[in-house]
Amino acid sequence: MKRIAASIVALSLLTACGSSPESTDLEENRAGAMESYTIGAQFKATAPITFDMLYSDHPNYAIKNDWLFWQELTKRTNITITPSVVPASDYNQKRSLVVSAGDAPFIIPKVYPPQETPFVASGAVLPVSDYLDLMPHFKDKIEKWKLGAQIDTLRQEDGKFYVLPGLHEEVWQDYSLAVRTDVLQELGLAAPRTWDELHTTLKAMKAKYPDSYPFSDRFAIPDPGGNLLNMIALAYGTTGGWGYHNETWDGQNFVLTGAMPQYKAMLTFLHTLVAEGLLDPESFTQTDDQAKAKLAAGKTLVISTNAQNLVNDYRPLLKDGATIAKIPFLAGPAGEVKGYTRLESGIMISAKARESKNFVALMQFVDWLFYSDAGQEFAKWGVEGVTYSKDATGTRILNPDVDFVGLNPSGTKHLQKDFGFSGGNFAYGGTTELLNSTFSTEEQAFQQGMSTKTSIPVPPPAPLTDEEREQATLWETPLKDYVTQQSLRFILGQRDLAEWDAYVAELNAKNGPAYIELVNKARTRFADKNK
């Protein structure tokens, strides 16, 4: 009896040994992989291979099977991708379903961290950090662009990360405010550079057009003030809007965002704008179309924007010599700062890919397509001579018949719709040079302005254990909802800012401090473990 028990233990130990240091033994998984695949190498599988991939189908450039992208990809890499097409509208739901059902394709793109976290415990997704040796370009860019600390924020409690993010050389801030420049000129004002200057500008606009709100914002759904609060919170040294987290890193510790003095200062400022009739109270509830309609009718003069909105949404709407432009990202009490993140959404690899005989080839392929300079240029610009050409200085120019983001309005074919390049599933991240390559001159000037600002520090990783996460989930959503709800009441004047202390007490009653303690505990634990 004893002997049997002993042999069972021994057996389980053996199997445990066999399965744990997975990264070392890849002999069974090298079919089709390149012998020597190094930085700068063009990946090409030694035999034709097919990989399946989840594909988020964008309504503006619906997938076509005859795209040049697919043909050229196969020609260059010997890899054929079989896409599982999912409408972008419900991509996340289908992704959860197929991953949970154990039926996920090998490549799962467009994962916005921390969306990968729920899949970690089930073991359905691959701890990609174990296999970085197969990905020289990825490793190279992390090192070259000093992204180590940023990557650490992706690490789970086991010290591994499960998503391969898009990597940027510099912080890329696309969103800012758009202002009617003809009105600025009429009033003899320069574009504001700080939030206080914006206040002055809005007052001058209000004096000239007393019947309307000069500033009416969009991006209210699903996060009220998504962009506005995100930007201004950064300028005040806290988080808000799209970037809201219950915890904010203050340099030494995580603190409760909604109770920060900086957060109060930000709300006070926004309340002033509303109270003085400068900011439309509907900014936090209206749809984008409503906000655009007000801008089109000339009722409002300032609105949130990104580079695309400006060209596609606003300019075509304005008439009678009205002009609009993106203004520099506004500074605030926290100084000339910008966000820290240089990571974008990324790719998960299905755990069952590890069993495939083509696993090594898969990782090499992903590394080449998503992280090598050649792969990124291919995904974004296409094929030299067909979709674009290079001039003597190496600047890429779209071929005359190809249009993209309004760079070639007379082009009859579209880089995304007709060729499949620059699509959200394949093209992201990259060098600043590559990023800027499709920008208009005015957008390049905006980015130039951004490059002079300093990034706020990267918060340290604080991954929770499964149990802690369960507890945290119970606290997080009510906290966030309450902060959002009360923030709007403070801004709109439905609640007096004199009641701030009472509000902080309410946050405490909603387990705010307990949550922060949990996060700080996780942070120190992770730091101790990974010294």
């Binding site: 988020s56 189908d57 964008h58 309504p59 503006n60 619906a62 997938i63 896409p83 599982s84 097409v85 999912v86 409408p87 972008a88 509208s89 419900d90 991509y91 996340n92 289908k94 379903l97 197929v98 949970s100 059902a101 154990g102 039926d103 916005y112 969306q115 890329w172 801030q173 696309d174 969103y175 991006f219 699903p222 996060d223 998504g226 962009n227 995100n230 799209w242 970037g243 179309d289 409503q290 655009k292 309609a293 089109a296 009718a297 990104n306 580079a307 695309q308 909105n309 596609n312 949404d313 075509p316 709407l317 966000g339 993140t341 974008e344 959404s345 959200g424």
Partner: protein, 286 residues
């Protein structure tokens, strides 16, 4: 008499309000579909098109994928409705026979599914395991019997006089003969209702297709439409560093909606005939 007049007035007012509330959004969409985008965004379009414009119709109708998906919707709807009607009728007819042994159990099995379901993931695993994914069967077979419709039909069959069927049996008709020659011809009203219920439900449904189909050329037009309207909303909610957000023009949305809704709307007048005859059938017998 006065109270009756008051009733008519109040009734008229309420019903008119209902008509306005339901009809206005629809007319608004139709008007938008014929207007230019600038007019729509400027908020000037109500129920009369402004800046009359047909280019959007040409644009949407020139999209091959739209027509492929449209054809899929027609095929799925017709096939699924036929399957559903056949299965529901057979099941309901059986259940309507009080002398059937195990009838309670059969009803129980059906009703059970109204309250409990296997859940999304087990269903997905099942359909996947049966090899139905990326075939028309994944769309038309699950949910082929709607229990509510089944119970309505069962109640209708139960209300038919038993003497009729006894008479048929005396005249030498078997079970199937009775069903096909006596019961069904008397049940045109309920069958028409069921056809309408099922057809509209299948025409509008997108979720099953979304779950089990992985190729754009297999999607029904509802999935196409949903992607267009809902767009990649998630990208905006999660990240600021992503411009890959759908910006589909308002008039394209309107045109697609109109084109998708019109066929199913035109079905109503045809089915209406049977509603009326159904009502009269009851009246004569009563």
């Amino acid at each position: 008499m006065v109270s009756r007049r008051i009733f008519h007035v109040v009734n008229g007012v309420i019903l008119t309000a209902v008509v306005v509330v339901t009809l206005y959004p629809f007319l608004n969409i139709v008007a938008r579909s014929f207007s230019t985008e600038e007019e729509i965004l400027a908020g000037r379009v109500n129920i009369v098109p402004r800046g009359f414009d047909l280019t959007t119709y040409r644009l949407v109708m020139s999209d091959d994928l739209f027509w492929t998906n449209y054809r899929n919707t027609v095929v799925y709807t017709v096939t699924a409705t036929i399957i559903s009607i056949v299965l529901t009728t057979c099941y309901a007819y059986v259940l309507s026979k009080k002398h059937l042994r195990g009838r309670g159990l059969l009803i129980g099995i059906a009703v059970f599914t109204m309250f409990f379901s296997g859940g999304l993931i087990p269903n997905y695993v099942l359909v996947s395991g049966l090899g139905l994914r990326n075939t028309i069967w994944a769309v038309v077979l699950p949910n082929a019997i709607n229990v509510f419709n089944l119970l309505v039909m069962k109640a209708f069959f139960e209300s038919l006089p038993a003497e009729l069927e006894e008479q048929a049996a005396v005249d030498g008709l078997g079970t199937y003969g009775t069903l096909l020659r006596i019961v069904l011809p008397l049940s045109k009203a309920v069958v028409a209702t069921m056809v309408l219920f099922y057809a509209v439900a299948y025409w509008n449904s997108w979720f099953t297709a979304f779950l089990y189909l992985d190729r754009a050329e297999l999607f029904p037009v509802t999935v196409y439409l949903r992607n267009l309207i809902a767009g990649a909303t998630d990208a905006t909610s999660t990240g600021s560093a992503d411009t890959d957000v759908a910006q589909v023009a308002a008039n394209i949305k309107a045109v697609t909606m109109v084109l998708t809704v019109v066929p199913i709307l035109t079905v109503y007048p045809f089915v209406q005939r049977y509603f009326v005859s159904g009502v009269m059938l009851g009246a004569v017998k009563g």
